[in-house]
Point group: D2
């Protein structure tokens, strides 16, 4: 199904070459000032054609809000929205009608829905669907900002070029200063170089996005199945091209012993309880502990190559496929705002769930 | 909340030192022969005290089925079940009443629920809760076996001792022949050695479990938020101590270029469509493609150390804590059946969702 | 929340005087031919200004489909849609800004959401929201028609003028031949007369709609909480102005003894099992038994009167309120397609839930 | 499925002649003192064999709580519970194996699940399943009592003997003083007389239960599909033998004009806003308005008659069926606590949903 969340929900619709992409945000708290600058900024961050590193497709992506707002404030009712599809080179895709592109969703859609696929530009499986996530995330950020919660992601690896895993070593306010969205300007330039190189070869490259959440109060998250990090992982794994998720020390922590990894509780300066280290990544037993939450998301290289690839058509006959049109050689730079959006929606949803019961707390 | 799944659902309850652990399985298809041997075998695999490598706690863990079965067949109605808690050394835990153990859920439960925590043996956050998952997974396996689907997990890494990432190099039928549940007997012995060593130091160690699913038909999985791998990742990240999830090439694939990673479609011997390689891990666009699904789950080292650790009490005062009682130095061996159980429930759930609509398929 | 259904879902958005009303249909089976005539016809049935008996507001209500359809077939992906709001006499409502109309949702929205209400024309609580239900119902009917299921509602009571409770006495194909949507043309004329009379007094009148579902296969419905009739009742009680729901003999059956009410099973002509009578209303134990499902829905008189009424403003000060603008004196005629839409969505949803498990049936 | 509710949830399991009936309560707020007297009292109210008016089956129905409580307080974790089935005259039911009792769920279970039905005593469709509802309702009442909310039901009609629809005419504290659970002792005696009469004829009788909820704060309920009264109606229609639901003036109000039915807002003595009348039944636009909520639930006569009835067996062959064993001639007296339980769970669930968002309220 196409709905994400429990108390804060995004329902998404739209194909890349249909009339529009859009969605419905449900559960937005009432009375929150709509920050249209924030919304516009987030949309601009995901937009194609921002730089030489991303697809040159032009998408204006102007969001039209259809409901749920009155005199600049959220009303608590659902927020319907849409973005019209324009600049559609649908003819670029006529060659996709009968073939299954390698490592795309063409074949699996065929297996799932039968032979009624909107093959143009990937249809529903297009990255253009992320528009609805960015809108959902922008409104979640508006609510979270009232709680003092910030959500910041950045490109931490492209191919073999990687930042240090410790985000404290970087000034995250520098992330947006380069096209790769990497807070280390030198590494950013190396990453950009690599992306340009693979593009020139008609190839693509993967990488990792790191996300840091600060200001989340302790006590949020459901302790058994719906652990806060399980919800975050689910959110991230629902982004196209994501192949892995980890938080805290993640896979690297499997190499260590418990004595190296435990976070020791200590009194904080203001008389509260804090931890000396934060290897846990701000979540213990599935519940936030008030420390920074940090996580990493693995993206595979884009499946669309600008070179010949063998494949088969619907009847299973061998054919040769070469993508035409305008494509991203690396999704990382444009996926940074998507990672933030999914995180923001997840955090607000779980925060609301926790709020529901605090009235009765002893 | 404590319910997992949409059409096949497990609702779980129970604390480690309360009267019982149990749950309700809902959505089990009717008319399936109950394989009590399978259920008993799965329970035995998760049981403590199986070997020198795991905790010496004795738990008989006899499952009592309370409903949903008649004359040896499932009836389609909910299956209630429970396992009584016995061999409870509750006094071992009286020292936990007022302190927060490092990297455990004590503090976060306190932040979430207030000062009404069942502190004995971790209470609800105890690994004993996995009993309900094993029962839910065993029934899911009974249904999946009718579809020809198998789910097999194994320990693929303990600390720095790791198998080759390619599961084809191992004979998975060998997994249960050693205490580590590793299909490579030599590596298994090295892993066992390492576990014994860290235990002797009062320390613990983490690792990775790999899971391989075979026989899943193509077309299962919801393509946007509820991708098959997102559901699997959510399931795995809900297991205690899990810090990361990846499928297909996962994080390693982020180092590669698209031309190295795409899976080329080819006709299969029987005239159907298959792929030459399976770097995608059996899922494309969130939907199964009929190839093997394989995934990896990262477990941190157990937080309970048999040595002194500094921490704080509820008032934030520094105290020294040393665990007593019987604890696992490494959860991997006993977590293998839990990984399988979570995978099996997820797969059956998504299979049922796909089944709902096939009647109308063109 | 604003989502209806489990496997066939409608998510609705929109205020009467915002930019648009719309929604997202999720779970529509793939490969179904889109019957645009049916959709247009259903929209025409709910439209205001159809006759002298309903509001004279003009609403073109042209539905724009934004996704989920390709070359005239459903694709299985979500169907986004919207209807632009036009002919908005927003100035008619400026007097509502600070007052609470009697028996409307003004005060309760204020209590729920705080002082950020879109007061124009009832905002989210306007009957205009039913547009999204009609669209959701129309698509459900397209799928149900493939199963041979028909859903037909009619006005069976206006004020004290009532039809016989037994729908067999009427030719339901006559329902659409008069403005009241009553299959008995004589009673229809009496009802029309009554509606004209109350309107001339600036007053309004309530009534009952009966709905008959034929062709539903046996075995659909979840037997405990989610009984088929509980789902139908929930659907109907979610329509504005509905105050009651009954099926089968309903409240009248409470006067009888069991021996008068039981339905005796008998072999049918074609060797299957049927019932001699159908007092149960086609549902036994919450599950369809293959007989006709029939139900009745009670609508209160519209709260908007074209006469002076005392009330209070936001500060609790007494004021006098008189509605202006164009309003329905009786919602029954226009509510007939809404009742059908809610029934159709419910039936398809529960049918899909049942389908999910039949593969395993012995 | 067998789960009821969103944030306060009951998952139910059990057949009448299996090992046990039970369930899991999830979402219970933490830190609430467990009122075991209340729980015992509610269980006693639903118990068979209380009086000459109900079945003479003996059921001790001692609830065993398995989790979620520590030192007399709820902990916020799920509350598992069960009641063992005893006094099972399973042999009374061996004659049900192959036949379909008239107006019971035997045939529809067969149609739904195939030929694997636990036919003993109705199996899952037995009224014994209401044990889990009573437990779920009792805990909901414990939380509601902290909010000052009371939920009181009573028998308002048996056959043709009916109370005045206005509950203000009765002293509801008198309800439990007679076996019928009717606050008018004279009418109660007439009802008892009627029940005794139909029982002596081997027949059964239906009726109506009224429920009154007081103290519910304004602002609770979701305004579109999940209206507070839609959720209440859904809850009631999920009780066995219920055929109708209405609230406020209900079906009777369909006879009236708007001018007779609107509730006029007036300032209350304490400076707040109240209504002069309460024909709306405490809910406007699906949201509570702070006035009393009152509703009526129609129960059909019990289908089990102690007399010969014709029916068919599984092969469709005519047979004669006569119930043996001990059965209720009228469910009303024992259904009163069930109506309260379903109402209490619904109210707490919707209250929690509303609480989730109030933090942000302007």
């Amino acid at each position: 199904m196409n709905t994400f969340g429990t108390l804060y929900r995004l329902t998404s619709f739209g194909e890349s070459h249909g009339p529009a992409i859009g969605g419905v945000i449900d559960g937005m708290p009432a009375g929150i000032k709509v920050d249209t600058d924030l919304l516009r900024r987030e949309m601009a961050r995901r937009r194609p054609g921002q730089s030489q590193l991303t697809t040159q497709r032009k998408e204006d992506d102007e969001v039209e809000i259809l409901s749920g707002i009155f005199e600049g404030l959220t009303t608590g009712t659902p927020i319907g929205f849409l973005v019209r599809n324009k600049d559609q080179h649908s003819q670029d895709y006529s060659n996709l009608k009968d073939i299954f592109r390698p490592s795309h969703a063409d074949y699996t859609y065929f297996a799932k829905y039968g032979d009624v696929r909107d093959y143009r530009g990937g249809g529903r499986s297009s990255a253009r669907e992320t528009i609805s996530r960015v809108v959902g995330g922008a409104f979640a950020k508006m609510a979270l900002s009232q709680l003092g919660v910030t959500v910041r992601a950045y490109t931490s690896q492209v191919g073999t070029i990687a930042l240090d895993p410790d985000y404290h070593k970087y000034d995250l306010s520098q992330t947006e200063l380069n096209d790769v969205r990497c807070p280390d300007s030198q590494k950013a330039e190396m990453m950009a170089e690599l992306i340009r190189k693979v593009r020139s070869e008609g190839d693509t490259i993967g990488g990792v996005i790191t996300c840091v959440i600060q200001g989340m109060p302790a006590g949020v998250g459901e302790p058994v199945f719906d652990k806060l990090h399980a919800a975050l992982g689910y959110a991230m794994l629902g982004i196209n091209a994501v192949k892995g998720f980890e938080y805290g020390l993640g896979f690297a922590g499997t190499l260590q012993q418990g004595s190296e990894q435990n976070d020791i509780f200590v009194p904080s300066a203001d008389g509260r309880i804090t931890t000396r280290t934060n290897r846990s990544g701000g979540i213990q037993g599935g519940i936030s502990n008030g420390q920074d939450i940090y996580l990493r998301v693995a993206f595979k290289p884009v499946a669309t190559l600008l070179r010949d690839q063998p494949t088969v058509d619907k009847e299973g006959r061998p054919v040769t496929f070469k993508a035409t049109g305008r494509h991203d050689p690396c999704v990382l730079p444009r996926a940074v705002p998507i990672v933030e959006a999914m995180a923001a929606m997840t955090l607000l949803d779980q925060y609301l769930q926790q709020r529901a019961r605090t009235h009765f707390m002893p």
